[in-house]
Structures are given as C-alpha cells and as structure tokens.
C-alpha cells in the first residue's frame, strides 16, 4: 500500500545558497498568506495614499499632495515589513520553538538571518510596486536618482530590521506583538509619514526628525520630490540607527 522508503543514511547538507533561497521563499509565502500582516504592509499604506492623496482632508503644505505622500508611504511600507512584521513573525517563531528547531537543521544561523533579510526585501519589492502603481495612477511625478532611492530603502531596512530582531529576540512574543504594533502607530503618526513634521512645535520637530521613519521619509522626499542625490542628514541618521540596532540585536538576541 505504502511506497517503499529508502531510510538508509545518506546525510549531507544542501549548498548554502539553496538553503537560503528555500527558507526565504518559505518566509515570503508566509507573509503574503497572513491577513494581519497584509493589513499592515499593503492595505493601510494604500488606504492612506488614496485617502489623503485624493482628498484635501489634510493640509500637506505647498506642492502636489501625492508628491508629498508617496515617499512617506514608501517609508511606512519599509517599516511595516522590516520592523513590525519581522518582529512579530520572528517573536512567535522563537516562542514556538521554530528558531530552535531550525537551529537543529543544516541551515546555519547566519543563513537564516540572510534568508529573513532576503524575504523582507522581496516583500518590500512587492509593496513598492503596488504603492508606486497606485501613486502614479493618482498623478505622482517622481524625480531624482533611482540609485539614491535604493540606498535609502536598504539603509532603512537595515535600521528597522535591527530593532525588529532586537525586540523579537528579547521580549515575550505577546509583548513583541503589542509593542511592535504600538511603535507602528506612533511612528506613523509622528514620523512625517502623512502628517508633515513642520506642523509640530519647532523643538519637538527637531527631535522627531531623528526618528528612523522620519529620516527615511524625508530622505525619500529629498530625492523623489526635490531631485536631490544622496541626502546627507537622512542617510547619516539611518546609518546610526542601523548600526545601533544590528549591534544590539547581535548582542542580546536569544534564540529560545
């Protein structure tokens, strides 16, 4: 009835790139299948883009509304995947012993981190494609150098991933779930994503500009709205957050 299985030992690890691609594909499918994750990564960004882009509910300052909104929503998309989604997903993998079990397979820990990073970038590519298509349909006219945009997005991804993994690897999964969602909402409200930072009092504004979400949103606006190349301050702010987050995550992440 059952097919014969050759159980005789034939151990051996697959080549590392194949393991990484396989794990990354698994993680991308998990995100794209998960309704709550899609709400954060695609639905909320697109709704904000359409709601505030097609109406005058908000005073977005001088210039065309969609040219202000699209870079901010792209920054939000990076945060939702690299930080919120990754923190929650990895936190529950740790809680349910998945990280421990993967640790018993031939996939090395470095390979797992590489796979998670690849998966985040792949999901961001899907998000960027959808957001850009909606923004273009709403009359978006992006300017600037695509290379600068990619550098900003990658540096933003590194900054958010570091803190997402730090949270996932140190807090209880339930605490990570609550905290990661809270941070998402706070940074959405106060990080210059859709509400312009110059509406805040000037002292507060200076502090808010140092947030990674604000640096990413402002940097993307400098390039896409104003045609700047490699905006210095936002890149520096993001680089500091990225180094801090990744160093802390590397130091304090607990696998079980």
């Amino acid at each position: 009835m059952t097919a014969p299985l050759d159980l005789s030992p034939a151990p051996g690890a697959a080549p590392l790139p194949r393991m990484i691609l396989s794990q990354a594909g698994f993680e991308v499918r998990a995100v794209l299948r998960n309704g709550e994750q899609l709400l954060l990564t695609l639905i909320i960004p697109v709704v904000l883009l359409v709601l505030f882009g097609a109406t005058s509910l908000l005073d977005l300052g001088p210039g065309r509304r969609i040219d202000f909104l699209a870079p901010g929503v792209l920054a939000l998309a990076v945060m939702s995947t690299a930080f919120t989604g990754q923190a929650i997903g990895t936190g529950f993998e740790r809680r349910y012993g998945v990280l421990k079990r993967l640790g018993a397979t031939p996939l090395p820990r470095g390979g797992l981190i590489a796979a998670k990073t690849l998966a985040v970038i792949a999901v961001e590519a899907v998000q960027a494609a959808v957001i850009c298509a909606v923004a273009l349909a709403l009359g978006w006219h992006p300017h600037g150098d695509p290379g600068s945009v990619i550098v900003l997005l990658l540096l933003g991804t590194a900054a958010f991933s570091g803190f997402g993994l730090l949270m996932a690897g140190t807090l209880r999964a339930e605490a990570t779930l609550a905290a990661a969602n809270l941070v998402y909402i706070l940074l959405l409200a106060a990080g210059g994503v859709v509400f312009p930072l110059d509406e805040f009092p000037s002292g507060v504004q200076g502090a808010l500009e140092l947030l990674p979400i604000a640096a990413l949103a402002e940097g993307l606006r400098d390039v896409l709205q104003d045609g700047a190349a490699l905006p210095g301050t936002p890149l520096l702010v993001l680089a500091v957050w990225a180094v801090a987050g990744l160093v802390l995550a590397g130091r304090f992440f607990k696998w079980e």
Binding site: T2, A10, G12, A14
Partner: protein, 312 residues
C-alpha cells in the same frame, strides 16, 4: 559491546545544573551511557529524571556543566556544523510554525539536505498524505507529532533523537510510528528515544537505560532487565495466611498481597510450585481467580527501581 569511541552517543560523567551553582539538585548528575550505532536506545525515567536535558545536551541545545559528550565521535557544540546534516531531531513539542502547511514545511526541511527522502512519500507513510495542504495549527496534536517525526528523518540522518515520539498518539498512529522506527533501525540508523511507554521500550529497544534523579539506575537489553524469572499472580478472598503458604514453598520465595485480594508469588515457578500453591488453596477452601504465570515486565522493573510515589 561497542568499543570506546565508536558509539553513536557516548556520555561520561555528565552534570547539568539549572540555576545557581550549589542550588537545586542537578538535572543531570554524573550520567554515563553509551548508545550503540545502528541500535535503538531508549531512555526511561519518571518526570524530572533528566531525560530531555540529556537529549538536549546531545543535540547541542544545552551545554553540560561538566563531563564529556560525544555524538558520532564529535562534540555537539563545537562540531555542530558537521553534525547537523547527520543528526535528525524531534523535540518533545513544537518547533513547527502553526501557519505553515504540513507539506510545505516538510519540503523546506528536505531542501536543507543533499539527498532527502521524498516528502510526499514520507507524509503518506505516516498517514498524513491528506494533510499536506493543511495548516499545521489546524492539525490534531497527534498529526503534528507525526509531522515533527517526518521532519526529523527527512534528511536521511545517521542518528535520530526522538523525545517522546508517541506521547499522546492514538493506537494507529503509535503503531505507524513504531513501524517507522523499526525500519530506521533495519536501515542502519541509530535511534535514541525517550518514552514513558514501557510497551514501546520493550518492543523497540536494543538497549534500555532507566534514569532517575539525573543518573542511570539500570540499563541493559529489555529481556536482561526483566530477567528470566517468572511470577505467579492470582486473585482470591482477602487476608489469606501467606506465611503459612510460604512455608510450603521453596526457600527464597516471596509472597505479598497488594492491593487486598490480589496476590503475587515471586519464586522459581515450576510445575511443582504451581501444584503446591493450588493444593494449598484447595485445602483452605480458597477459589482462585485470574491465576496466571507471567514474566516480570519492564514496568515492574521500572517501578521497583524508581518507586511508586508520584513525581511532580
């Protein structure tokens, strides 16, 4: 026996203590054992005896405080990279993401190996073919357990660690698991498992190790542990004069009543002994019920060695 350095697993004077040194009693306390290659070795013990801690040290998840650990001749922590492809691990619970589909996760695990088993054939063998596209969190505990076993063996390992592989399984699933373990052994795979199921240990094991309080209290082949002795058991009215009966039996025999009305005679059970016991009963007007001659079971040995009191 296996020459030194050649066992699948060799532990020598292993100690592992949780919490502050000098605090609680060590979880593993000077444990030494050898699991031979190509054999099934079962670790038996009450809850808290140190079975899982021992297995997790062998898997490289925990470090021993002292003592030596050799798995396939290597150090599970320092040589983890070399060991991972060769060793399959089934943890006591969890380890499979709830949102993944069963077949998808098994194929992922297979993809980490050079020449894995066919995931569909393995699912079919374990009665999970119909669940390949079902999310893990929607599967029953027993189905998740079998998926976890499949993940442990899909890479065609030389050695597998199975931590309570059949706990909570229904009889069909338990037998499917036993068959797979017997086939692994026949194919030359070394198996180290923990269990509370004495029938499982007796049926599957080449070597049984009984642990208590973190060290080995007895070990050997199941038939060696249970011994060749037979015993006689019967039920009758409570309060028989056992001392009088004993005086009719050969020296060295033992008799006890526990619980009331249940009698156990431990002796060299021969036809004459049986005749003596039944004749004694007849002369006292005692009708015996359920009279049977049996060998000691592993459970008898286990309870004798580890006591009857409940463990937390």
């Amino acid at each position: 026996m296996t020459p030194p350095g050649d066992g699948a697993v060799e532990l020598h004077m292993l100690v592992k203590r949780y919490g502050a040194a000098g605090g609680a009693r060590p979880a593993v306390d000077g444990l030494s054992l050898t699991a031979a290659r190509g054999a099934v070795t079962s670790l038996l013990g009450p809850n808290g005896a140190g079975k899982t801690t021992t297995i997790e040290i062998c898997e490289g998840f925990r470090r021993a405080d002292s003592g030596t650990v050799r798995v396939l001749g290597l150090d599970p922590v320092a040589d983890a990279r070399a060991l991972r492809p060769r060793v399959g691990v089934m943890p006591q619970s969890g380890g499979v993401p709830g949102t993944a589909r069963a077949g998808e996760f098994l194929r992922l695990a297979a993809s980490f190996h050079a020449t894995p088993l066919d995931a569909s054939a393995l699912l079919e063998r374990l009665g999970l073919a119909g669940h390949a596209r079902v999310q893990v969190r929607r599967m029953s505990g027993g189905q998740q357990q079998r998926l976890s076993l499949a993940v442990a063996v899909v890479g065609r390992p030389e050695l597998v660690f199975l931590d309570e592989p059949t706990t909570g399984l229904d009889p069909q699933a338990r037998h499917a698991t036993w068959t797979l373990i017997e086939e692994l052994r026949a194919a030359g795979v070394s198996v180290v498992l923990t269990t509370h199921n004495m029938e499982e240990a007796e049926r599957l094991s080449d070597h049984v190790v009984i642990l208590d309080h973190g060290s080995v209290v007895a070990e050997g082949a199941p038939e060696k542990l249970t011994g060749a002795e037979r015993q006689l058991r019967f039920r009758a009215r409570p309060g028989l004069g056992l001392e009088e009966l004993l005086s009719a039996l050969p020296a060295g025999s033992a008799a006890k009543e526990s619980p009331a009305g249940h009698y156990l005679i431990e002796a060299d059970v021969r036809p004459e002994l049986l005749a003596t016991v039944t004749a004694w009963c007849a002369s006292h007007g005692v009708m015996t019920e359920d009279l049977r001659i049996e060998r000691r079971t592993l459970e008898d040995v286990f309870l004798e060695l580890t006591g009857r009191e409940l463990r937390s």
